[in-house]
Subunit: 156 residues, 2 copies
Amino acid sequence: MTGHATIAESLREEGYRLTPQRMMILAIIYDSEGHLSAEEIHQRVRQQYPFVDISTVYRTLNLLKKLRFITETDLGDECVRYELVDKGRHHHLICRQCGASFALEHELLAPLAPRLLEKYGFAADLDHFAIFGLCQQCRPEGPALAAKKGQQHGDA
Amino acid sequence: MTGHATIAESLREEGYRLTPQRMMILAIIYDSEGHLSAEEIHQRVRQQYPFVDISTVYRTLNLLKKLRFITETDLGDECVRYELVDKGRHHHLICRQCGASFALEHELLAPLAPRLLEKYGFAADLDHFAIFGLCQQCRPEGPALAAKKGQQHGDA
DNA sequence: GAGGTAATTGCAACTTCTTGCACAAATGAC
DNA sequence: GTCATTTGTGCAAGAAGTTGCAATTACCTC
């Protein structure tokens, strides 16, 4: 059984029906390397089933999100993206000035979970965070030691 | 000079104009205790200036957000809320099952910033996080030791 | 205080995502 | 395989937020 079929089977075990639409959306997310937007998923689905509606895509994404098979991450302006949870936990550092995005391995955030559990009894979903800020290039006291202060090399 | 007037002055120093609309929106956010939605802000503004458009509210909120006078936080479904940054940094633990929200003091998250700066040269904006997960009541191995397993006391 | 200029606003159209509803189809029983 | 049940889908309308544009107005200079 291939990867997305495993998730599909779990869906069915939870009492949800396995429709071709759901299978296709799962397969597309599974096969994709990076993060997909709802619109991208919709377009790929339509290459096979041209009559699938965008509302079905959103409803399926919300279901998969609720069951925690996928994560939804807002990677900056106009970019909500979806990805399988178990494709490896990772997070993003996103520069609010230039929009650049950097990967952040899970290890740096991981210690937070046990501390939240211990202190608040709260089991945090640290699946896929997007942390905004300023990258090295855009910090005023950045690499060139404020030589470019006031300049921007882009705008998020 | 009252609090919101200080921010207004900063706005002007940055080259932005002080319009009555902006002053009012600032005053409303400043005077409010909790987190306000765009719609709430719009309604309060209209009590004084009935002709202010919702788009002006959104544009002003986006400007204040860009200048980091306010934070925008998604506190669960259908709830994007705005708050002054310097009213004290705090974060939220939000239960995805029952929707309950718990305050999280900044201290627990604060150590992250220097580590991101050191390791990635990234100056993170750790202003106002919303961390989703399961609260003590909703965890299967929660307070009553799995007695209520399978039950939900609400739905986010 | 008057005038010029460019930022800001209100309006309307638009995009993105959600929801209600009637019909279609996945599942389970026979 | 057929039938009944109940979930899921497509469509269209709606809610939330954004954008283009002409008119307004805050701010600077005189």
